[in-house]
Structures are given as C-alpha cells and as structure tokens.
Symmetry: C2
Subunit: 324 residues, 2 copies
C-alpha cells in the first residue's frame, strides 16, 4: 500500500480541503452539462500536488488562507484544464481508473470545458493577484503549450536525446510545479533568494515527478496506472527509459523501427517494452529521479519553518516512492 | 463589391495596424510549429472587429495608444483562440476561404495553439489591466464557453424557440462584442452611464452580427462564405431562420425530421434549406437584424466625439450590409 498523499501535506491539509470546496464553488454554472463535467473533473482529480506546494511554500511566511486561496484554486483549475485537453489530444479513455471527460461527453464538450476552466482560473485571481504573479502564471502556461506541441511534433521520432527529453519535461511539467512553489514563496513574502530556492526545489521535484510518471508508464500494471501500460510508446512519445534503450540495447534497431510505426500493434508495444526492460533503462531512470530529488531537498530554503520543511521533504519522498 | 471594412474603422485604422503588428510579436515562439500556426491564424484573421470597437469606444475619451494596445491585442487573441477551438469542434476544413489550422496541422496542435493563445492573451494584459477589466473579460469567456456547450447539447434538437436562440447568440457572440465596447469605454475613462450605453451598443451590434452570420449561412454562396453553405443545418445548429420556418412552414414536419438526423446527406441539407427559403424566414431574420442595429445606433453615447460616432455608425451599417 502506498502512503496516502493526503497525509503528507502536513500543515496545509486543511487548506487543501478549503481549495477542494472552493473548486466546486468556482466551476458552478447555470448550464448543467458544464457542472457535470466540472464535478467529474474535480472528482477525478489527483493529489492537488500543485496547490499543496503553493500553500506549503507560502507557509514559509505568514499569509492568511484567504489571501492564498484564489491562487491555489487557480493553479488547480489550470492543471485541470491542461488535463482535460491532454486527454482529448491523447484520445485517452481513462485517467486514474475513471473514464475521461472526452470518453464520456465527447471531445467537443471537453475542449470547451477546458476553455471554461482557463477562464475560471483567471477569473479567480483577477481581483487579487499581483501583476508579476499573473505574468509568471501566463508565461508558464504558454511554455506548457509549447512543450506539448513539441511533444506532438516529435512523436514517432527516435532521434531524440536526453537533452531534448529534459527540455520537454521541463516545459510540460517541471516549470509549472516550479512556478507553483515560486508563487507560493512570493505570496508568503519571502525574500528573493528564498523565492529562487523554492522555485529550484519545485523544478527539481517536477522533473523527478515526470520522469517517475514516464517510468511507471512502462513498469506499472494497467490497474495501478488506471490507464493502459505502454501508453507513451504507443503514442510515439519517446521518454527517458526508451532513449536509454535506444542508446544501449542490442535490439536498438528493432526498437527504432517500432517507434517509427504510426500505428503500433499491441504486439509492437509489448515487444518495445520488452526491449526497454532488457536494458537497465528503468534503473538508470530511477537514478535520475533520485538525483533530482536530492537536488530538490538541497534546494529547500533554510528559512522555512520546520513543519513546512518536513512536509516538503515528505513530498519529495512520496514522489520517489510512488508506484502509480 | 462590399465596402471594405478596413475603411470603416475611421480614426482608429492606424491603431488597428499597430494591433496587427503587435499580434505577430506576441505570438512569437521559439517553437517553429507554434509560430507557423500563429501566423496562419493572424493572416486568416478577419476584420479585427472586436479590437476596433474597443479602440473606438476608448477614443470616446482621450487615452494614448500605448495604454490601449495590450487590451486590444488580448481581445483579438481571445477571439482567435475561440475560432481555432471552434474549428476543431466543427471539424471545419475552411474558414474565410482558407484551410483551417485543424485541417492543416491536426486537431491536437490546434487545441494546444488555442490554449497558447489564451495564455498569451492574459500575459499581454497581466501587467497593465485593471482588475475589474480583467474580471469582465474572464466572465465573458466563461459565458462564451457555456454558450458553445449549450449549442452542442442542443444540436439536432428542433424544439428550440427564439428566446433560446437569443440567449445562445448573446452568450456566444454578443456578450463578447459588448464587453469589447464596455472595456473600451472604461479604458477611455468615460462616466458610468456612457459605459453602460457603449456596452448596450456593442451587445445589439453583436446580436445583429451573429444573426446576419446565421442568415448568410443559408443565403450566401460557398465562395462568398469561404466555407460550405448550410453548415449550421448540417451540424444540427438551429438558427433564427430555421426556427421561423419550423414555426411557419407548411413542410415543418419534414424540416423537423431533417434536423433530427445526426448524419444529414447533402440532399437533406439542400431540402432543409429549400424549406426555409420557401418561407419568409430570411426577410423576418433581416428585420431582427435591423431592429438590433437601430437599437445599437440609438444606444451610442451622445458624449462621443463626432468621428467616433461616425465610425461606430459606419460599423453598424457594415454589419447590416455585409454579404459574407
């Protein structure tokens, strides 16, 4: 059994419950269908990692929850918007073991609901957020979109190296988690050096988080993942373990041929995963995760109070240990 | 030949050119594909009606262009984002006679580029916009999404009356045009009564604009439209002329049956349009356009300077006369 993430957010667990409540209130719409999809997305939502990190880093200082709530909610709404659009893009049928919005309500409503969530996110912070914080948020969103577009463009292309991969993971995932921490530190009124450190912690954590995701996609069971195994490979998305195998496997030419197929059969995917598993790609990738997590831990601002530090260290441990 | 819209924006024509230039600069990305799609969308862009209305209403007062530019650009970026997502939703192959982004680069890149444009829109105004203006903008976007979702939900449903239609058109189109005028009047520092009037002008103009669009979809040639005729009917979107025909035509049961078909043949669409044309649905709909335009003209703030009033009246004339 995995340690429940709900127990690791420590001193901000109550705040997360408030975020949860506020999410339901913000997405309310006179249009039933919009409500239904919104509620589904909230319920399908995961750990609330990003708002939790935002709140924890803010608790490095002493702001009130009411000051923090809008940005925490906006961060989760933005994350939800990216997820619902990602699922449309990936034609995903399930996420975390539940049907995706697109599989239940169709791509069209899902695209529009994502847009609705963007608007609600900015609406939530319009009246409270500091201008420079708004800019941090919008810059990271455009960068996320760029990262996703690059991922699409580079799908089925085996000619990608680790640097390409890291750049993509930074844009897709780590920059947003870094921004969540940075925004938290700014909201907490921390000094500039601590803001930079909090951001660094978030960035390294985000890199570790996404690499773990990419490892689990080839090692976990479909049940654990709540979606099919080898999903990335099937979509031609070349992740760290695959890049490693493409460099080191005796069967690298075969793997390369599989990746270049736009319509992989189940057997292709199975064989591709087998080739990756024959190498020590998973071990190598976990080493990278550990390296990033160590960097995250070392980056934590020393001025953070003990319960904040403890929670942020627990989050780092959780990212390294999670099995789904 | 239609009067070119570029000549009707009068005193803000130079400002629109500045908006145009700024659009290219804002969408720039280190990712070539993002640039390519962005440039395509700007070039495929229409009349820049919304930023022009924003600028004109702002010119009711005396702000500088540099104060106005970010919001004008953001308004057009938001419009572009809705268009690119709409084209994905409608699976449209062409818009204004040019291939759509989705037909050229696929749905996935188009969804992401729309998201990129949302982010760029808010990024553009993050550092300058007044909080209440930001709120007006985000509220209108969520309302637009709701309107589009309702349209999807009510597709192929012939049980819609004029009130449903007006509500949908308000949310889909008129509210955003109203907000463009309202934001302009606010940026121009006009007094509250004039802000309300400017909004009213924009709302009525927007209603007239969308009803005209819906009429042209059944009266214009595919060449004029730059997209197939009867597109709305084929997608089950019930517009004012159709609602009128459903109420008055001798063949209303036949029309009802056609609308309920989820997969209309070309012959179904042709026959549906024929039934609508046999009634005076088009004449009736144009009467509604005229009524809204008259209301728009009457709503113009009296304090607006002569060249501003003239341009806003010319825009109303243009909306009433446009043939595509």
């Amino acid at each position: 059994m995995n340690k429940s993430p709900s127990s690791i957010f420590g001193i901000v667990q109550d705040d997360i419950d408030a975020v949860e409540k506020e999410l339901y209130s913000v997405i309310q719409s006179p249009v039933d269908l919009v409500n239904d999809i919104g509620v589904h997305l909230i319920q399908a939502g995961g750990k609330r990692l990003r708002p939790a990190l935002y709140l924890l880093c803010a608790r490095g200082g002493n702001p009130s929850l009411s000051e923090l709530l809008p940005m925490a909610v906006a961060i989760e709404l933005i994350h939800m918007a990216t997820l619902v659009h990602d699922d449309v893009i990936d034609s995903a049928a399930t996420r975390r073991g539940r049907p995706t919005a697109n599989s239940r309500w169709g791509n069209h409503s899902s695209v529009l609901t994502g847009d609705y969530l963007w608007a609600k996110a900015f609406s939530t912070i319009a009246s409270s957020a500091d201008k420079s914080m708004l800019k941090i948020l919008t810059d990271v969103i455009s960068s996320m979109c760029e990262g996703e577009i690059v991922q699409l463009r580079e799908a089925f292309n085996p000619e990608q190296d680790e640097a390409d991969y890291r750049q993509r993971v930074a844009q897709k995932t780590a920059d947003f988690i870094a921004a969540s921490c940075e925004l938290g530190a700014l909201s907490g009124g921390l000094d500039e050096a601590d803001v930079v450190q909090a951001r660094e912690y978030g960035f390294a954590l985000g890199m570790a988080f996404q690499i773990t995701d990419d490892i689990l996609d080839i090692t976990a069971s479909a049940e654990q993942l709540g979606k099919p195994v080898g999903n990335d490979l099937r979509q031609g998305i070349v992740t760290l373990p695959t890049i490693y195998a493409l460099k080191t496997s005796f069967h690298r030419d075969e793997l390369r041929n599989i990746i270049e197929k736009q319509n992989m059969s189940d057997e292709d995917v199975r064989r591709g995963l087998e080739i990756v598993h024959e190498t020590d790609a998973v071990e190598y990738s976990y080493q990278q995760v550990s390296r990033y997590l160590q960097h995250a831990r070392n980056s934590l601002p020393l001025t953070f109070r003990a319960p904040v530090r403890e929670a942020l260290l627990a989050v780092a441990d959780f990212v390294g240990l999670r099995k789904y």
